[in-house]
Amino acid sequence: MAVERVLELDMDRVPANPRTEIVTAFFRHRTAMAGLFGLIALIVLSTLGPSVVGHDPTATDILAIYASPSSSHLLGTDQLGRDLLTRLLYGGRVSLLVGLMATLMATVIGCAYGVFSGMAPKWLEYPMMQLLDALHAIPVILLVIVSEVFGESSLIKMVLVIGLASWMGIARMARTECRRLMEADFVKGAIVAGASPTRLVFRHLLPNMFAPLIVVVTVGIGQAILLESTLSFLNLGVPTTVPSWGNLLGNGMSSVLGGAWWTVLFPGIMIVLTVLSMNLVGDGLRDLIDPKNRSIGS
C-alpha cells in the first residue's frame, strides 16, 4: 500500500556499528536533546518528587478546598482540599508507567507479528497483512473504550487494553523493514551459511531494525499516554482512586468554572510537555537515521 512508501527509510547503507554512531549524533541534535531533558526531568519528578513535596495525595482537607496556588500548596488544591502538585506527580507515575508498559507490550507483539509475516512465504504473508490492515481500520479509541467496558477497571487492564490496541503500526513497520532486510546481501549470506531462523531474527534482523523501531516506539509511548489520559478523563480508565492526569482533568472540569483554573491548566500542561518530549526525541532519532527523510508527523 501507499503507506509503505511514506514510511520508507533508507537502510541500504548498513553502518558498521549503527548504535554508537546514532548515539553520538543524537547528542548534537538540539531539539532531541531538549526532549530528552524533558523526559528525564519528568521521570525524576515523578519518582522522587512526591517525597520532597510531602503531602499525601489522598489526604482531604476541607478547610483548604479550592485553595489557589500558595506556598503551602504550590499548585493549589482540588474540590476536596487535596494538594494538586502531589497528585500531579503521582499521576505522572501512573501515566508514564501505563504508557511505557503498554507500548512495550505493543512493541513485542508488533515486532513478532511483523517479523513473522516478513519472513513468511507470500501466501501466508498476504492474509496476515490483510488482517493487519483490517485491524488498523478501527479507530484505536473505539477499541480501547469497548475493551474497557467489559470487566473491572484496573491498571493492568489498562496496560493490556492500550497495548493490544496499539501494536498494529509497529507490526506494519516491522514487516516493511524485515522485507527490506531480507533482500540485503548480508542476510542472504547468513541464510546461505545455514543460520537458523532464530539466529537470523535475533542477530541480523532485529538489531538492524532497532533504529526505525526506536523511533516508532518513542512516539508510541506519547500516543499511549494521550490515550490513557483520554480514557481516565471519561472515567473509563484507571480506577478512580488512583490519581492520573486524565482523572485530575475530569475532576477539574467542575472546578474550573468556579475560578479554580489551576485544576485544569496544570495537568494538561504536564500531558503536553510529556508527549512533546517523546515526540521530540522520536523526531531527533528519525532525523539522525535518515536526514533526507521528511517526517510524516509524529
Partner: protein, 538 residues
C-alpha cells in the same frame, strides 16, 4: 518540457486542477449529506418561555408506567390530590370525599368541567381506568405496591368514584396524587408500547405536549383550558443536560433559566450574571450509604452500627456540601412524623472500634481490619453524573479508613449498574410529606420485583410496623408507630444516613414563581408550575 522536469524529480505526473476539484467536491458532498433541515419551526421570541435544565431524561411520559416520581411532573398530568406549599394534602381534581367509618370505603366526588388536552371530558371512568391499569400485572407499573390494598374501584356516576380497600390505608389520598391517564386513549391498547408514552401523552395538567427530541429537549405548551386557570407561561422547554458543568455554563450564558446547582458551583456565579441563587433551608432530600445485605460484610448489625459511629457527618456537610446541609440520622428528620428524641449515633471512633472488635475484626499489617483471612474491603459506588455523591464517597472512605475499613470508591455512570448488585452505594431519597412513601417500598421485605428494596434489608419488626403504619388512621397513633420505626432503623440500620441537602437552585432574574417549602428527593421547584412567569423579558 516542464513535465519532463517533473518526471525527473519525483517520477510522476500529477494533474493539479482535477485534484483540487475532486477534493472540494468530496468535502461538499460530505457536508451536504450531513446537513439537516431545521426541524423546529421558527418560534416568535415574544412567547413567554421558561427553559429548565434537567439532569435526566424520562424514559416515557406516562405517569403510571415504570418508576415515576409523583412530584417529577406536575405539568402534563394531574391527580385527584396534590400537596400545597405547606406540604399538606389538598384536593386537586377531586372536590370532596367521604370515608366510611371502618376506613375501607372512600367515596370521592370529582371536580366538574375538567377536560383532557384533546377536549374530551374527564370522568370517573378515567379514575377507575388508571387505578386498574396500575394494578394490572401485564402493565409495567412501578406503582402497584403503593395501592395493593385497593380491591375494587366503582364508578357511581360520571363524577363520583368509590374505592374499596381490603383494609384501611391511611396514605390512600396521598397515593391518589398519581397522575391520571385517559381511558378513551389507552383502553384496549398495549399499555407498554403505545405511542401515548412517547409522542402523544394527553393529560389534564396546565401544559400540553408539543415536542420531544430525544436526548435534547422536551417542549410543552400552555393549556388554555386548564381548570385552575390559564398558566402564565406560554411554553416550557426542558433541556436534558446530564453534565453539571455544562448546566452551569449554559446558565451563565442565559441559555437556560433555572437549574439545580451544587454547593461548589455557587462561587462560579458572579453578581453580574443576573442570577439569583435560591437556597432551600430545609429539605427532606437525604444521602446515605446503602449497605447491600447480600454481601457478607454487612450482615452483622454491629458492623453496620460501627460504620455509623465512624462517620463524621458534620465534616461531610462542611466538606462536600460547603455547609449547605444538615447531618442525617434517619429518613424522616424533616417529615411531620419525624422524631426529635430518638438516640443518635454521634461521631465516636472509640465506640466504632469496640463494636468492630466485638464482631471479630482485628487490625492487619496494613492497618485494615481482618477476620478469618478476609480483609474488610468493599467497593463504594457513586454515580459519575453527580460530583456531590462522589465527594461524599471520597470523604466517607477517608473517615472509614481511620477505623480500619477500606472502602474503594468506584465512580460509574449511574445507568451502567443495577443497584441490587453493588456492594455499597451512595443513594438518595426522602419524602417531605407522607412517611409511608419513603419507607414502605424501600424497607419492606416482601415486595419482590415491584418494590424498591434494593438493599435486601429484612427486618420483621420493621415490616410489621410498616404495615401498621399504613393501616392506622389516627395521625397521633401513626406518628408513634413511625417514631418506633425510626428507632428500629437506627438500632438495625439499612443505610448509613449521611446528610440532608439544602438544595440550591440558580434562577435567572425576572423568573417568578419559586416558592420555598420543604422539598423531597426529586421534588422540583416547578411543583406549582402554573404559577410561574417570566416578567421583564422580551
Amino acid at each position: 518540457m516542464e513535465d519532463g522536469l517533473m518526471k525527473k524529480r519525483s517520477g510522476c505526473r500529477i494533474r493539479a486542477l482535477p485534484l483540487v476539484w475532486m477534493t472540494v467536491f468530496f468535502v461538499l458532498i460530505v457536508i451536504v449529506s450531513g446537513w439537516q433541515p431545521t426541524s423546529s419551526e421558527a418560534r416568535p421570541m415574544s412567547e413567554k418561555t421558561l427553559v429548565v435544565a434537567r439532569s435526566g431524561e424520562p424514559e416515557w411520559l406516562n405517569p403510571v408506567a415504570g418508576h415515576q416520581h409523583p412530584d417529577s411532573d406536575m405539568a402534563l398530568f394531574r391527580g385527584l390530590f396534590k400537596i400545597d406549599a405547606k406540604n399538606e394534602l389538598v384536593p386537586d381534581m377531586a372536590q370532596s370525599w367521604e370515608v366510611s367509618p371502618d376506613g375501607r370505603i372512600y367515596t370521592i366526588r370529582l371536580r366538574p368541567h375538567i377536560r383532557w388536552h384533546d377536549g374530551i371530558p374527564f370522568t370517573a371512568e378515567d379514575v377507575r381506568f388508571t387505578l386498574d391499569a396500575i394494578q394490572n400485572p401485564k402493565n409495567h407499573s412501578g406503582l402497584k405496591t403503593e395501592v395493593e390494598e385497593i380491591t375494587k374501584v366503582e364508578v357511581v356516576d360520571s363524577l363520583t368514584v368509590r374505592i374499596s380497600l381490603s383494609r384501611p390505608l391511611a396514605p390512600l389520598l396521598s397515593k391518589l396524587r398519581i397522575g391520571l391517564i385517559p381511558k378513551h386513549l389507552l383502553e384496549g391498547k398495549d399499555f407498554n408500547t403505545d405511542p401515548f408514552n412517547h409522542v402523544r401523552p394527553v393529560g389534564t395538567g396546565p401544559f400540553k405536549f408539543a415536542e420531544w427530541k430525544r436526548g435534547e429537549y422536551l417542549v410543552l405548551v400552555a393549556n388554555p383550558d386548564f381548570y385552575g386557570g390559564r398558566p402564565k407561561l406560554d411554553r416550557i422547554i426542558y433541556k436534558f443536560i446530564p453534565d453539571p458543568n455544562v448546566r452551569l455554563v449554559q446558565l451563565k450564558k442565559g441559555e437556560i433559566d433555572i437549574a439545580l446547582i451544587s454547593p461548589k458551583q455557587v462561587s462560579a456565579i458572579r453578581p453580574s450574571d443576573g442570577i439569583v441563587v435560591e437556597v432551600v433551608e430545609k429539605s427532606a432530600d437525604y444521602r446515605v450509604m446503602m449497605f447491600n445485605f447480600r454481601h457478607p460484610l454487612f450482615q452483622d448489625v454491629r458492623v453496620r452500627q460501627a460504620v455509623q459511629y465512624a462517620t463524621d457527618r458534620q465534616t461531610l456537610v462542611d466538606g462536600a456540601l460547603l455547609g449547605y446541609g444538615h447531618p442525617a440520622y434517619g429518613p424522616l428528620q424533616f417529615n411531620w412524623a419525624g422524631a426529635k428524641e430518638i438516640p443518635r449515633h454521634n461521631h465516636d471512633l472509640k465506640k466504632a472500634e469496640i463494636l468492630l472488635h466485638e464482631a471479630g475484626w482485628t487490625r492487619g499489617n496494613d492497618g485494615i481490619l481482618e477476620k478469618e483471612g478476609r480483609r474488610f474491603s468493599f467497593h463504594l459506588t457513586a454515580g459519575s453524573n453527580d460530583p456531590l455523591r462522589v465527594d461524599l464517597a471520597t470523604l466517607l472512605a477517608g473517615q472509614l479508613k481511620q477505623v480500619g475499613i477500606e472502602a474503594v470508591v468506584e465512580v460509574k455512570d449511574f445507568t451502567s449498574f443495577k443497584i441490587q448488585e453493588v456492594e455499597a452505594l451512595i443513594l438518595g431519597g426522602g419524602f417531605a410529606d407522607e412517611p409511608d412513601d419513603d419507607l414502605y417500598r424501600f424497607f419492606s421485605s416482601h415486595l419482590g420485583k415491584e418494590g424498591r428494596n434494593y438493599s435486601g434489608y429484612q427486618n420483621d419488626t420493621v415490616d410489621r410496623l410498616l404495615e401498621e403504619g399504613r393501616s392506622t388512621l389516627n395521625p397521633e397513633a401513626r406518628k408513634r408507630i413511625y417514631q418506633e420505626i425510626q428507632r428500629e432503623l437506627i438500632v438495625n440500620p439499612p443505610y448509613n444516613f449521611l446528610v440532608y441537602l439544602k438544595p440550591l437552585y440558580a434562577v435567572r432574574k425576572g423568573v417568578a414563581g419559586f416558592t420555598h417549602k420543604i422539598f423531597g428527593h426529586k421534588t422540583t421547584p416547578l411543583w406549582n408550575v402554573e404559577e410561574w412567569s417570566v416578567e421583564g423579558r422580551p
